[in-house]
């Protein structure tokens, strides 16, 4: 049996301060390859912290995290960064695209730091953009795109390096209903291609696209339905 993509073993994340904030409390979480999970919960419940820990942007203060079977506490900062660039794709609420740069250049950013073969870069970018339905926009600068198109560029950037895990933080938070739908359709496509997806959201319609739902409250994680095996 292959390693799960994510295995959290009693993971805690506490932010020190005069009143310490317990963003994650003893979270156990297992994510198999190909799962599509939504994380819901009120703001301040630890959703974003969970996502940052999963994305190796933040480290647990306690507990163990295995990504693709690798104990990330045992590798150094540079290796964690390498792992992040190699195996994780991020989609942010506010896109984080480079302005004044073309769509293709933005997607190529994700291939700069992970030894992706130079000759295959452009082809991979084109392929990723075609998958999100932006094959016709490749040479535009991102300032000229609509919100939905921008988020699809961000998704193309997140998947171009063929990561093990795609993490999306409120991916439709800045989009209206119609464009949200186009983004969610892309997620559905990616899911059916076997990509592992974690989407943090407070929007029920977004959450409904996922097969499995977890809920964060006060740093505790709980499964609301187990979508394992259902599509």
């Amino acid at each position: 049996m292959p390693d799960p993509v994510v295995l959290l073993d009693r993971v805690s994340r506490t932010f020190a301060g005069t009143t310490p904030v317990h963003a994650l409390r003893h979270v156990d979480f297992r994510l198999e390859a190909g799962e599509y999970v939504s994380v819901v919960g009120p703001s301040g419940s630890g959703k974003s912290t969970l996502l940052h820990v999963l994305g190796l942007l933040d480290e647990p203060t306690d507990g163990l995290y295995f990504l693709d079977g690798i104990n990330v506490a045992l590798i150094n900062d540079a290796e964690r960064t390498g792992l992040r660039g190699d195996r994780i794709g991020f989609v942010f609420q506010d896109f984080h695209l480079l302005r004044h740069r073309t769509v293709t250049e933005n997607v190529l950013t994700a291939l700069l730091y992970n030894r992706f073969p130079r000759r295959e870069r452009h082809g991979a970018a084109v392929e990723a953009l075609e998958r999100v339905g932006l094959g016709h926009r490749m040479d535009q600068t991102t300032d000229k795109l609509s919100g939905g198109e921008r988020q699809r560029v961000a998704i193309a950037r997140a998947i171009v390096s063929r990561p093990s895990l795609l993490l999306a933080d409120e991916p439709t938070g800045n989009l209206d209903t119609a464009t949200s739908e186009s983004v969610l359709e892309v997620f559905d496509d990616l899911r059916s291609d076997g990509l592992t997806l974690v989407v943090v959201t407070h929007d029920e319609t977004v959450s409904a696209h996922a097969a499995r739902h977890v809920r964060m409250v006060d740093g505790f994680l709980s499964e609301t339905t187990s979508g394992r095996g259902t599509r």
Binding site: H52, G55, F66, G82, F90, D94, L112, Y113
Partner: protein
């Protein structure tokens, strides 16, 4: 998978090819060309000022040397040392320079021409051209009376308007003849000499045999009545020589300067004062140092301002691009890649500033040289070194912003920046 989970060899360390680093940095700069250009302006001015300074001082230094070469660098003057305080040379009680000074000097190898010159004291007597008193016009003037040997006309490269110079014969016979300068002739109302006009210095009558139109040296001759030595000694009691003037071959001035005093007064040569032109190499060095010191400081100050400008804008740009920094970290950029990108960007701005500044500086040197008809001179290392200096300035300026950028925590950066 074991519970401890050893990192498999498939963990790749983050890496950024130098080519990609440069491409990313340059693209970032080109994305906002206006701002990048404004940023490098300070560096352009600083390096331009330094290049122009070095070039102009070199050019001017060479030019000054050329002028000395043309005229002054071949002139040697021997005068009698003042031994008893402040006396005019013509009141010297003892005459050390012999009357045959011209011949003695001409025997030295390297001498092209030699002549002697003395101011003749006419006891304040005025000079007039006609023996009549016209009450309406000024007819008497205080005109300098100068005694020279014929060689001095050669030294001064005097050109006649009409008539002739006097020669050794006039001097030996003490003929009452004079050659007068252009200005003196105008004042005395003389225009031509074919009718042998007479002038009167006090009660001495002199026949004008030539009028000097132009001289290259000794411009005082143009407003003087010039008479032969012998005439001055007989009619005006001239008892000593003021100065011996020597024109040498180019490059021989230093040598002649060391021999002239001995040739003129072998007993005690150091009682004569020999003025030789300054050593050309010394002049060049001194001029360059003077000009350089001042303007290099100015150039350095503008370069410092330029560096602060780059540092400032790079710092602002780091703050503006917090989101981009977070994004790059999230796609696998290590801290050193972030630092490297900002360093390369500021170094590139310095480099461009260096190139543009050096070009501007060279243009200034050429333009100034063109208006002065100088030959522009520039050390070859200047246009090559300027971009290197620009890179150094850019790197130094980018150091702090780059460190600041690399220290940003990715989570904070992603949250803060848009």
């Amino acid at each position: 998978m074991t519970l401890l989970g050893q990192p498999p060899p498939s963990v790749v360390r983050p890496h950024l090819a130098f080519r990609d680093l440069v491409a990313e940095s340059v693209t970032s700069l080109l994305a906002r060309p206006g701002r990048s250009l404004l940023t490098i302006l300070g560096t352009v001015l600083g390096i331009g000022a330094i290049v122009a300074t070095l070039g102009l001082s070199k050019t001017a230094g060479n030019q000054i040397v050329t002028r000395f070469d043309a005229l002054a660098a071949t002139s040697v003057t021997v005068t009698q040392r003042n031994e008893f305080g402040w006396f005019g040379p013509s009141q010297q009680t003892v005459n050390l320079i012999p009357w045959d000074a011209e011949d003695r000097i001409k025997r030295l190898n390297g001498v092209l021409a030699a002549g002697i010159k003395s101011n003749v004291s006419a006891d304040g007597q005025l000079t007039r051209s006609v023996p009549i008193n016209d009450p309406l016009a000024q007819t008497e003037f205080a005109i300098n009376l100068v005694a020279v040997s014929p060689g001095l006309f050669d030294i001064a490269q005097a050109e006649l308007r009409s008539g002739r110079f006097f020669d050794e014969g006039h001097s030996l016979r003490a003929d009452p003849v004079a050659v007068i300068g252009r200005s003196a002739a105008q004042r005395l109302n003389l225009d031509r000499v074919d009718h042998q006009p007479a002038i009167f210095v006090g009660d001495v009558t002199l026949i004008v045999i030539g009028i000097i139109e132009e001289v290259a040296r000794e411009p005082s001759l143009l407003d003087a009545v010039v008479i032969p030595n012998g005439t001055a000694r007989k009619l005006f009691d001239l008892n000593g020589i003021d100065e011996v003037q020597i024109r040498t071959e180019i490059g021989a001035a230093q040598l002649i300067g060391s021999q002239a005093a001995t040739a003129l007064y072998p007993n005690e040569p150091n009682r004569l004062r020999v003025a030789v032109p300054p050593d050309p190499r010394a002049v060049k060095g001194a001029v360059e140092e003077d000009v350089n010191a001042l303007f290099l400081v100015l150039g350095g100050v503008s370069l410092l301002i330029g560096a602060i400008g780059i540092a400032n804008v790079t710092l602002v740009s780091v703050l503006e691009r917090v989101g981009e920094i977070g994004l790059r970290r999230s796609v696998g950029a290590a801290r050193r890649h972030i630092a490297a990108q900002f360093l390369v960007e500021s170094a590139a701005m310095g480099f461009i500033g260096g190139i543009v500044g050096a070009s501007g500086g060279v243009l200034v040197v050429v333009a100034v040289s063109a208006t002065r008809t100088w030959t522009p001179v520039l050390d070859p290392w200047i246009p090559l070194g300027a971009p290197a200096l620009g890179i150094v300035v850019g790197l130094l300026a980018g150091l702090y912003p780059a460190l600041k950028a690399s220290r940003l925590e990715p989570v904070e950066a992603l949250r803060a920046g848009l």
